[in-house]
C-alpha cells in the first residue's frame, strides 16, 4: 500500500510536468490549429540557459526568473519571424517548419552546451521529514510550482483583459480584428507564454531525469498523450489529462509493463484516444446554433 501511494504521488509530480507542457501545446493549438512539436526542445534549451546562469553564480530563483523572461522573448521572436509568414501555408509545410524547428533547437542545444548528460540542481531541500517519506522534497516542490503556474495561467486567461483578448483572437480572429484586437501580437504573446511555461516544466523535471539535449523528447510524447486524452482544444482537459498520464505511467511502469515499455504506453494512449474518441475524454464540442 505504501509503495502504491508512493507511485501515485510521484506520478502526480511528473504528471504536473506533462500537464504544463500539454497546456503549452494546447495554447498554441487553439490559436493556430498546429501542434508545436518543438515545444519540448524549446524547453530543453531554456533549461540549459538556467543551468548556465546558475553556473555563473546566480541564485537559483534569480536564474529561474531570467530564464522565464528569456524564454518568453524567444517564443515571441519565433512566432514573429518564423511562424508569421507560415500563417496561410498548407498544413504539410507547417508541419515541416515545426519539425525543422525541433531539429534546429536540438542541434543548437547540443552544439552550444554539448551532448553530455548533466545534473541540474533542485531549489528544494534534500530531505524534508515532514513529508514522511511518501514523496521526495523535489517532487512535492515541483508539484507546488506546477500548480501555482497553472493557477496563474488560469487566472490570467479568465480574469484579465489581455487574457480575454488572447482567447478571442484564438477562437475567432476575424471578429477579434473587428473589435480592434491586434491578433498578430496576441499570437506572439501566446507563443511567448507557452515557451515560458515549457521552460518551467524543463527546470522542474531536469533534477529528476538529468539534463541532456534530448531530455524533453519523451516528455513531449507523454504531454501530447495527456493533451489528446483530455481534449486538444480544451486547456483544463489537457491539464487533467497530463496529470492522469503521469499517474498511469508510474503505476503501469511499476506494476504492469516495467520501465522499458513506459514510453510505448504513451503511444498506446495516443493511438487509443485517436481511434476511440478523437475529441478526447473531456473534449468540448462547441455548442452552436449557427
Amino acid at each position: 500500500m505504501q509503495a502504491l501511494l508512493h507511485q501515485i504521488f510521484s506520478g502526480i509530480a511528473t504528471g504536473g510536468i506533462y500537464a504544463s507542457v500539454a497546456l503549452a501545446l494546447v495554447m498554441i493549438y487553439q490559436a493556430t490549429h498546429h501542434v508545436n512539436f518543438a515545444q519540448g526542445e524549446m524547453a530543453t534549451f531554456s533549461t540549459y540557459i538556467a543551468l548556465t546562469l546558475i553556473n555563473y553564480g546566480l541564485s537559483y530563483w534569480l536564474a529561474f526568473l531570467i530564464t522565464l523572461v528569456v524564454s518568453f522573448i524567444i517564443g515571441l521572436i519565433i512566432e514573429r519571424v518564423l511562424m508569421r509568414p507560415m500563417a496561410s501555408a498548407p498544413v504539410l509545410s507547417s508541419v515541416g517548419v515545426f519539425i525543422g524547428l525541433l531539429l534546429i533547437f536540438n542541434s543548437v542545444t547540443g552544439w552550444l552546451f554539448s551532448y553530455t548528460v548533466k545534473a541540474f540542481p533542485s531549489p528544494f531541500p534534500e530531505a524534508m521529514p515532514a513529508l514522511g517519506g511518501w514523496v521526495s522534497p523535489h517532487e512535492a516542490g515541483a508539484t507546488a510550482v506546477t500548480l501555482i503556474v497553472l493557477l496563474l495561467v488560469y487566472g490570467f486567461f479568465r480574469f484579465t483583459r489581455l487574457g480575454l483578448a488572447m482567447r478571442a483572437a484564438a477562437y475567432n480572429p476575424v471578429s477579434a480584428r473587428l473589435v480592434g484586437i491586434r491578433v498578430g501580437w496576441m499570437l506572439a504573446l501566446g507563443w511567448g507564454l507557452a515557451a515560458a511555461i515549457g521552460a518551467i516544466a524543463g527546470m522542474m523535471i531536469a533534477p529528476i531525469v538529468f539534463l541532456d539535449p534530448n531530455m524533453m523528447a519523451g516528455i513531449l510524447l507523454y504531454a501530447f498523450a495527456g493533451a489528446l486524452l483530455g481534449g486538444i482544444d480544451n486547456p483544463l482537459g489537457a491539464v487533467i489529462g497530463g496529470f492522469a498520464v503521469g499517474v498511469i505511467e508510474n503505476i503501469a511502469g511499476a506494476y504492469l509493463v516495467g520501465a522499458e515499455l513506459k514510453l510505448t504506453l504513451a503511444l498506446v494512449i495516443i493511438l487509443g484516444v485517436l481511434v476511440l474518441k478523437p475529441a478526447g475524454l473531456l473534449g468540448r464540442a462547441v455548442v452552436s446554433r449557427v
Binding site: 471578429s175 477579434a176 484586437i181
Partner: protein
C-alpha cells in the same frame, strides 16, 4: 454637412476575382446611409473593403484620414464598428465576454455604463449574460453583434443585413432600436440590406449596387418613389 466617410473609385475582390468595379459613395456624419442590392451585388464585399478585410484599390477617407490598406484592427480602433455578415459571434465565450470584447480597445472608465445602456436597448442580453454565446438564438446573436459594435464607441457603424434570418416581429424590433440609436446617439450608420423597404424607411440617403457598380443614388424618400426600384426591390 461634411461626409464622415468618402469612397472614391474603389475596387475590391477575392484572389483573382474583382467584385467591386470602381465604386464611389459617401456617408454623411450623423445620418443613416443604405446600400441596396440583390444577392451577390457586392454589398458585403463593400463593407469588408471598408474594414480592411479584403484586398482593395482606390481611396477610402474616413474622418479625414486615408484608411485604405490599413489592418482591420487599426480601422476598428480608428472608429469603425462592424456588425458583420454572419454576426461574428464569439461562440465559445459568454455573452458578457462578447460584450466586454466590444470595448476591449477602449481605455476610458465608461465601459460599465455603456454595457448597462446596451441592456436598455436589448434587455434579453442582460438575462443571458452568463450563457455561452453560441447557444443564443439568431436574433439574440444579432442584438449581441450590434451591442458589441456599439461598445467600441464607433464614429461609424457598419451593419450587414441586420434583418437576416429574423422573424418579422423581431426585424421590426431591431430596426426600431436602430432608429433609436441613430437618433439618440447621433450615430452615423452605413446599412446594407436586401429588405429595401425597411432600409429606406430608416435611411436618409441610399445607393443601389448592381454587380459591383453603383447604378443609382439619391435621397431615400425619392428612391422609394422611383419606378424601377419599386418594381425590382420593393415589390409593389
Amino acid at each position: 454637412m461634411p461626409a464622415l466617410l468618402e469612397v472614391n473609385d474603389l475596387y475590391a475582390g477575392y484572389g483573382e476575382t474583382t467584385v467591386l468595379h470602381g465604386i464611389s459613395f459617401a456617408v454623411a456624419a450623423g445620418g443613416v446611409t443604405t446600400l441596396l442590392g440583390a444577392n451577390g451585388a457586392g454589398k458585403t464585399t463593400t463593407l469588408r473593403a471598408l474594414s480592411g478585410m479584403v484586398r482593395t484599390q482606390g481611396e477610402i477617407v474616413f474622418a479625414g484620414a486615408r484608411i485604405a490598406g490599413r489592418a482591420s484592427e487599426e480601422i476598428a480602433r480608428a472608429g469603425i464598428g462592424h456588425v458583420p455578415d454572419g454576426r461574428g459571434t464569439f461562440l465559445e465565450l459568454s455573452v458578457e465576454e462578447n460584450l466586454r470584447l466590444g470595448a476591449i480597445s477602449r481605455r476610458d472608465p465608461g465601459i460599465k455604463d455603456d454595457i448597462a445602456r446596451m441592456f436598455g436597448y436589448f434587455p434579453r442580453l442582460a438575462e443571458r449574460l452568463r450563457q455561452q454565446a453560441g447557444t443564443l438564438s439568431g436574433g439574440e446573436q444579432q442584438m449581441l453583434a450590434i451591442a458589441r459594435a456599439l461598445l467600441l464607441r464607433p464614429k461609424l457603424l457598419l451593419l450587414d443585413e441586420p434583418s437576416f434570418g429574423l422573424a418579422p416581429l423581431l426585424v421590426a424590433e431591431v430596426f426600431e432600436i436602430l432608429g433609436q440609436i441613430s437618433r439618440a446617439e447621433r450615430m452615423s450608420i452605413l446599412l446594407v440590406e436586401q429588405n429595401a423597404n425597411l432600409a429606406l424607411g430608416l435611411a436618409d440617403h441610399a445607393y443601389l449596387l448592381e454587380t459591383g457598380r453603383i447604378v443609382m443614388s439619391g435621397l431615400a424618400a425619392s428612391m422609394r418613389e422611383n419606378e424601377a426600384i419599386r418594381r425590382s426591390y420593393l415589390g409593389y
